[in-house]
């Protein structure tokens, strides 16, 4: 079978040879024809010059063309092209024609007369490059491969026909034959390039023979290891030497590739691996001197790595340990990798500006393969960390060297490699028992330090990558922190310590980094209010340290004092911000401190904390608030941002007062909140915080707003919590009464005692405090006082509002509210009082009595208000914006004068009498009511009242006739009738006596 293959190959080879031969002959014939044409062309030119000398003299350029053609045939094409352009402007030359022209040749048929020749695809750069690559490289590679394949086939044949030694001899002879062919071809210019490939093939074939003699079963004839080693080394050496001698990186790569491939065929042991490393080493060293063989470097390092991993894999798949001792293998990998890396530190690379892609990637790949090779031998030894750490310094040192050699891309690459190695070193610390959190903290620290170092020289690319790595490391740290919070176990104190370290380092280096970034106008850009700001974003992790530290501290139960650390971090940030003004820092501080505050408040409010920790958090956050207030200058807004500090202080005070008092007395919280409100009211008026002092812009407004917010917080708490507090203070007074009075006092304080604020918002809020006071007071009365007493209180309220409204112009809208109280009181008397039942026989407990007293007070108010009507009409009511509509109500009251007071009163009294007393005496009471109205009509000279009273009496009379007469109790009937009769008589008398008063009025 193999023989048939061999015959097939021979036939194929013969056919190929005959084809090639025919082709060469055809090319030679063409060449001969061209030579003939050229010589005839030369003769014609001479004739033409002799016969038409005058014409030719005037067309000298054409002469030059001919001369050029004559002098250098090899550059014929170029010269012809030049002539093409020149002939365009030379019509006489067009007449020139070669007298001897072979009809089959294509040369004379060239289109010289084309005026605008089109550039074909074949003339494009792409096509030319393709041609160069194909003709220059691919053919060589494919050709060599073909030869190698042929040798393999030959080997197969030899394997069949000969013994191993004989086979080796055939291979060697074939190799020598090829080498001899090289000598033969190398002297011929046309075949020079091919000869190099032939020589390469001879080397590879020899190598195959050597490898086969040692390790391939059918070719193996050497059993002595030393002879085998010598043979292998000689094969590899020959191969590599030839690769080196050929002088191109493609040759070198191919030879290294075949050398390593060959080594993959032999049994693996320490020696063969060492040889493989040596081959790779030599392969890399080939590129030294002035060569820039980066592609070769990439190929070699990748090949070596692939071989390395192939061996590891093949052993692992057989459940065998890799036979090479780790240290040995590591050293070899280090040698290969280091050689690859060092190969770039040569003068040939220096001076290049910008990033050179191929060398850069070659270097990166070398670093990566070195890392991978070493990682493959990592057994978790602590020494790996040491080596990694050493490599950090080494790579960093190398980057300095690259910088000095002005190899920018190498400098970038080594700097980044050192960063990566540093991070890997940190990750390897896990072997020392460090937790994931501690490792990420150290990584963040390392990234910070690296950023600081990078900032020193400030290379844009490295800085941006380092900055990104820095931010990423902090993102990981943040993720770890949240991860720790989810765990049930408590966190080690060392974690917080690590965070503190990272904060300190970051705080220390941040000013420098920021300064450098600003100087170089680098970093990331963010836009605020359509303005772009360059920033490193280092501010964000810096500002968030306090927050994360506090989160961690919540999981550390060793000591409460640990809480001081996060607070100190937060405080330090404010000092740092004073030093470094930056818009992003301003925002970061706001966010970071805000988050810290949120956590602190949640902790204070939580039940799991001790008193000490609550105290530490409260005091700490108060200090944060004070500092935030004092150190709040914003360069961008050109003012102090005081609202944040005020908010912190207020929130902490409010929460702390709740937490610290809730276990003492629930009522205490509300009282303290009111005290905060009062203190804020007094503080806002202090000169230091007033708007006239530009340093604390609007701080008085914020203090005022939070003072009011405290008051509203109290009110909310009061109605949701304190109102149901039934505890007695001093054994007799409900404690909530203190809160109620103090609350009303505080509202009054803001309404009247506190100095008016310059803030419009504050002013508008306070404007409604009068209404708030009335609402709260009414609610308290409704809740605290027994309902049967309410009518008296509403009636008293009517008077109180009227007098206060008269006395104080600022609150003169109370005059209107007095009317509302008046009507409310009457409604209550008419409809509500009469439904109130008290299980008591005591007169003072009776609802009707209270109703009666209320009626009396309301009557007094009616008289008083009527007498004071002019004063009321003149008053300009001071109404807040949204209740301006009440002025219409005032006009309505003015218009109706006393009627609006009197009719509701008498109607209410009528109902009150109806539902409060026995119906048998009702007629008597109603008559009395009408009689009183009648008297009033005389006193006030109001005929309308008189008419109403008369009509009323008439109706009552009808009731007496149709209802009271049907009653069974004669005594009652008698009393009613007599009384009514007497009243009517009295009315008649009085009317007659005083009727002139009506007339005079009319």
């Amino acid at each position: 079978m193999n023989f048939l293959y061999f015959i097939g190959i021979l036939i194929f080879g013969k056919k190929l040879h005959s084809n090639l031969h025919r082709k060469i002959e055809s090319l030679n014939a063409d060449l001969a024809k061209m030579r003939v044409e050229l010589s005839s062309l030369k003769n014609n030119e001479t004739k033409s010059v002799t016969n038409q000398s005058a014409t030719i003299q005037s067309y000298q350029p054409a002469n030059q063309f001919i001369t050029s053609e004559k002098t250098d045939f090899s550059t014929q094409k170029t010269s012809s092209n030049r002539a093409l352009t020149e002939n365009i402007s030379m019509p006489p030359i067009q007449q020139y024609k070669a007298p001897i022209r072979h009809p089959t040749t294509t040369y004379p048929k060239r289109e010289y007369r084309k005026e605008t020749p089109k550039k074909s695809f074949r003339d494009s750069e792409f096509w030319k490059n393709l041609e160069v690559q194909f003709a220059g490289n691919v053919t060589g590679i494919v050709g060599t491969l073909a030869v190698v394949l042929g040798v393999i086939f030959l080997g197969v044949y030899a394997a069949i026909q000969l013994d191993p030694l004989g086979r080796f001899g055939v291979v060697c002879m074939f190799s020598l034959g090829l080498y001899a062919l090289y000598f033969f071809l190398s002297n011929k210019t046309f075949w020079k390039n091919i000869s190099l490939w032939v020589r390469s093939a001879s080397g590879v074939i020899f190598l195959v023979g050597c490898i086969g003699s040692v390790g391939i079963e059918s070719m193996k004839w050497v059993n002595d290891p030393w002879i085998g080693l010598a043979l292998l080394v000689s094969g590899l050496s020959a191969n590599l030497v030839l690769g080196f001698l050929n002088g191109g990186q493609i040759f070198a790569s191919i030879h290294v590739l075949f050398s390593l491939l060959a080594l993959s065929l032999v049994p693996v042991n320490e020696i063969t691996f060492s040889i493989a490393a040596l081959v790779a080493f030599v392969g890399i060293v080939m590129s030294f001197k002035d060569r820039q063989w980066d592609k070769h470097l990439i190929a070699t390092t990748l090949e070596f790595t692939a071989l390395h991993f192939y061996w590891i894999y093949s052993f692992k798949s057989n459940n065998q340990e890799f036979p090479i001792q780790s240290i040995h293998a590591i050293v070899l990998c280090l040698i290969v990798g280091a050689t690859g890396l060092i190969s770039h530190y040569r003068k040939t690379y220096s001076g290049a500006s910008g990033l050179q892609q191929i060398p850069f990637f070659a270097h990166v790949i070398t670093w990566a393969t070195l890392g991978l090779n070493l990682y493959a031998h990592s057994k978790g030894s602590v020494w790996s960390t040491v080596f990694l750490a050493l490599s950090v310094f080494l790579s960093f040192g190398m980057s300095i060297k690259a910088e000095r050699m002005s190899i920018q891309w190498l400098y970038i690459c080594d700097r980044l490699a050192s960063l990566l190695l540093a991070l890997l070193t940190v990750i390897s610390l896990k072997k020392f028992g460090l937790s994931g959190y501690e490792i990420s903290s150290i990584a963040a620290i390392v990234a910070t330090i690296f950023l600081r170092i990078v900032a020193q020289t400030f290379e844009k690319t490295i800085f941006k990558i380092s900055n990104s790595a820095f931010l990423f490391s902090y993102l990981v740290l943040a993720g770890h922190t949240f991860g720790l919070l989810g765990e049930s176990e408590q966190v080690a104190t060392s974690s917080l310590f690590m965070l503190l370290c990272s904060f300190l380092i970051l705080g220390f280096v941040f000013p420098y980094i920021q300064k450098k970034a600003e100087e170089n106008n680098q970093g990331f850009n963010f836009t605020f209010k359509q303005q772009s700001y360059p920033s490193t974003f280092v501010e964000i992790p810096l500002a968030l340290h306090g927050f994360f530290a506090l989160l961690l501290a919540t999981k550390i139960k060793d000591s409460e004092w640990i809480l001081v650390l996060p607070l100190a971090m937060t405080i330090y940030n404010f000092f740092l911000r004073e030093k470094l003004k930056g818009l992003l820092f301003d925002f970061s501080i706001l966010v970071g401190t805000g988050m810290t505050l949120a956590v602190a408040l949640a902790l204070i409010l939580g039940d799991s904390n001790s008193l000490i920790s609550d105290t530490i958090l409260t005091v700490g956050m108060l200090v944060v608030g004070i500092l935030s207030f004092k150190l709040s200058w914003s360069e961008h807004f050109k003012q102090k941002i005081t609202w944040f500090g005020v908010s912190i202080i207020w929130l902490v005070l409010m929460v702390a007062s709740y937490v610290f008092t809730k276990n003492i007395s629930p009522a205490l919280t509300g009282i303290i909140w009111l005290l905060i409100s009062l203190c804020a009211g007094e503080l806002k008026d202090r000169e230091k915080f007033c708007s006239s002092n530009g340093a604390h812009e609007k701080s008085d407004v914020f203090i005022g707003l939070f003072g009011i917010a405290s008051l509203f917080a109290f009110l909310a708490r009061f109605f949701l919590v304190d109102i149901s507090n039934e505890v007695l203070a001093f054994g007799m007074i409900r404690i909530r009464l203190f809160s109620e009075f103090l609350g009303l006092g505080s509202i009054y304080y803001w309404l009247s005692i506190s100095k008016p604020s310059r803030s419009v918002v504050l002013k508008e809020i306070v404007d409604y405090f009068l209404e708030l006071f009335l609402v709260v007071a009414t609610a308290i009365i409704l809740f605290e006082v027994d309902s049967y007493l309410h009518p008296i209180l509403w009636a008293v309220g009517t008077f109180a509002c009227y007098f206060l409204g008269k006395k104080n112009h600022q609150f003169n809208r109370l005059l209107l509210y007095s009317y509302l109280f008046y009507f409310g009181s009457l409604f209550y008397v008419a409809f509500i009082s009469t439904t109130i039942a008290t299980p008591s026989v005591l007169l003072l407990d009776q609802a009707w009595l209270m109703g009666l007293i209320s009626v009396c007070i309301n009557t007094a108010f009616m008289v008083f208000a009527h007498r004071d009507r002019d004063s009321f009409a003149k008053s300009q009511l001071n109404l807040p914006k949204t209740v301006k509509g009440l002025s219409g109500f005032k006009s309505f009251i003015e218009k109706l004068e006393v009627k609006i007071l009197l009719y509701p009163l008498f109607t209410a009294i009528g109902f009150f009498l109806l539902w409060s007393f026995d119906k048998t005496v009702l007629s008597l009471f109603w008559v009395i009511e009408c009689f009183v109205l009648f008297l009033i009509s005389i006193l006030m000279r109001e005929p309308q009242f008189r008419i109403v009273s008369m009509v009323g009496i008439g109706l009552i009379f009808l009731r007496i006739v149709f209802y009271d007469l049907t009653g069974r109790d004669f005594f009652i009937k008698a009393v009613v009738f007599i009384s009514v009769g007497l009243i009517l008589i009295a009315m008649n008398t009085i009317y007659n006596k005083y009727k002139y008063r009506y007339e005079s009025k009319q």
Binding site: L678, D722, S724, E726
Partner: protein, 311 residues
């Protein structure tokens, strides 16, 4: 003038801060952690419920019906209840006992009809008032309360509902429609009203009834502290929970939270007892056990108290 204003201002500020200081001192004297002052919307709804309740009352007042009509409805209810089922001996005894109590309490009534107690053989401790002076008490309540004074507190509370026209208010349209012979229309109107707006002031009505009951106790021979004790018993049997703030739950609560009622009436009783060193009030544990009314038998000194006994 300005100087005067400043003086007034300073005086008021000093007064306010002084009062704040006094309030703090007062609060510090009230370290009573037994009172759980959680957030509850119930008192607020109770307060807000006064407005719709007043409106409802006014409407009732304007209708051409009164307590006499309510008494007529009560008569019908009594006749219906009497025909329902026969009572056993214990129940009969208990009913007699209850009616003897209500007979004594009727001296406080203002309605023009008599009260009558009915017994329901349910184990749940409960009581309810019907229009026209019918009060229904369950056997479970008789087992839950520990003294006659506590039982009186419950009956007084239910009397309060009748006296304060809460029952009348809830059936006013039915009463009215009976007058104009359109029964079903009135019932529908009442049902709709109770369904839609009753819960807005039901807590207010319950609070009023509580107050009425407490006042009745103070004006009777019984210990006013019985009111809070009853609520403690009810709380023990109802297992009422829910200290977390929940506006919706608090809005739909028919009664104020028991904790709040206990705290309120404990304090009320304490205040009442504070100024009455010579007063003596009856508890009546044995009376309840033997189902014998105080008017029939006074069980002696052991049943009387002259001080406030905390529940």
């Amino acid at each position: 003038m300005n100087q005067n204003n400043n003086r007034t201002r300073k005086f008021f500020i000093i007064l306010l801060f002084g009062f704040a200081g006094l309030s703090i001192v007062a609060a510090l004297t009230t370290i009573d952690l037994s009172q759980n002052n959680g957030v509850t919307f119930a008192p607020l709804f109770q307060l807000l419920g006064k407005a719709p309740q007043s409106l409802s009352r006014s409407v009732t007042k304007m209708l051409p019906i009164d307590s006499v009509d309510e008494g007529e409805l009560g008569k019908n209810l009594r006749s219906y209840d009497s025909s329902s089922r026969a009572l056993n001996t214990d129940e009969q005894k208990a009913l007699t006992y209850l009616n003897s109590i209500i007979k004594r309490l009727q001296r406080f009534k203002t309605k023009p009809f008599d009260y009558e107690l009915r017994l329901l053989s349910a184990d749940i401790p409960n009581a309810m008032a019907l229009p026209g002076g019918v009060i229904v008490v369950t056997m479970g309540l008789l087992k839950a309360v520990k003294s006659e004074s506590e039982l009186v507190a419950v009956i007084a509370h239910e009397m309060g509902h009748v006296e304060l026209s809460h029952c009348f208010d809830s059936v006013k349209y039915e009463i009215l429609s009976k007058k104009i012979t359109h029964n079903s229309l009135g019932a529908i109107a009442d049902f709709s009203r109770n369904l839609l707006i009753r819960h807005t002031f039901s807590k207010t009505q319950e609070d009023e009834a509580d107050n009425y009951g407490f006042q009745l106790l103070t004006n009777s021979e019984y210990d006013p502290a019985a009111m809070s004790k009853v609520f403690i018993r009810l709380k023990a049997s109802s297992h009422q929970t829910g200290n977390s703030p929940n506006p919706l739950r608090d809005y739909f609560l028919s009664h104020p939270p028991l904790d709040q009622r206990i705290a309120k009436f404990s304090t009320e009783a304490q205040v009442w007892w504070n100024g009455r060193s010579n007063e003596k009030r009856y508890i009546g544990i044995k009376n309840l056990e033997e189902k014998t009314d105080l008017s029939i038998k006074d069980f002696g000194e052991g049943e009387w108290t002259s001080t406030y006994i905390a529940p």
